[in-house]
Amino acid sequence: MTHLAELPSWAALLTALLLLLGAALALIGSFGLLRFGSFYERIHAPTLGSTLGIGFVLIASMLFFSVLQSRPVLHEVLITALMVVTTPITLMLLARAALYRDRSEGNDDVPPSA
């Protein structure tokens, strides 16, 4: 923990805030998994974590290391980009799979195919 003390106050404060925000969003998103009653609602919840939640944490990380190492630390950008690209793949695949299963089981609350 020794290095943490070397961080200027503003950066420390900002980092702390961003981290808490990010984590809170992730928690809310995950909490949504419990809160919502149907799968199609639940599937929206984790997006909180995988977009802004992780975004805040990544910004915090970039800020923290950039200030600490006095150089731009940017590689977190990659994670952001990858999250944006890969999370939709899973969700899309999953949502359609669920739709198929609902249709084949004859559940009423899903729309018929086009």
Binding site: L25, G32, E41, T51, L74, H75, T87, L91, R96
Partner: protein, 162 residues
């Protein structure tokens, strides 16, 4: 240009990825990165990626900002819904949206945008009719949603990718 260096944008992106990964812009890294990026694209070519183009970077940039804003707003909205489930008379449901965009990369971008934005999700795409079925967490009015998506995202994507 494309003959010798297909997918220049992708190649550049890959080079950027390489540089960011290595956190270095030394000549060695750049040379090696370029070689690797070109090589990686060559491998990709074997997989027959659909042809596509990318124009109007400014539009794209603007779109990115818009999406960013939407994501922030939707985060807020969805978080509220999660935290106060009973406060608002909310209905969720499916919306089928007819699309105009056909470019694969454009469609991909659209799907990413929609799915990455909390509260909306891309469920089923029908290539024959070129429609997409979305699920929307807070579905107030179908029409509004169709308009929003077509105007805010699809139009710009068509500009960029077609």
């Amino acid at each position: 240009m494309t003959r010798w260096l297909p997918f220049p944008l992708l190649t550049a992106t890959l080079l950027a990825v390489w540089l960011i990964l290595n956190e270095s812009v030394s000549p060695g890294t750049i040379i090696l990165g370029s070689v690797l990026s070109v090589g990686a694209v060559r491998v990709l070519l074997a997989l027959d990626p659909p042809a596509g183009r990318f124009r109007r970077p400014l539009v794209a940039l603007k779109l990115a900002l818009v999406v960013l804003g939407d994501i922030v707003r939707s985060n807020n909205a969805v978080a509220r819904i999660i935290l106060h489930p009973g406060t608002k008379n909310r209905t969720s449901g499916f919306v089928r949206i007819p699309l105009d965009i056909r470019a694969p990369y454009g469609l991909a971008a659209l799907s990413c945008i929609i799915t990455a934005t909390p509260g909306t999700i891309w469920v089923e795409y029908d290539s024959a009719k070129n429609t997409v079925l979305l699920h929307i967490l807070d579905l107030v009015d179908e029409k509004v949603w169709i308009e929003t998506i077509k105007q805010r995202y699809e139009k710009r994507l068509i500009e960029v990718f077609e």
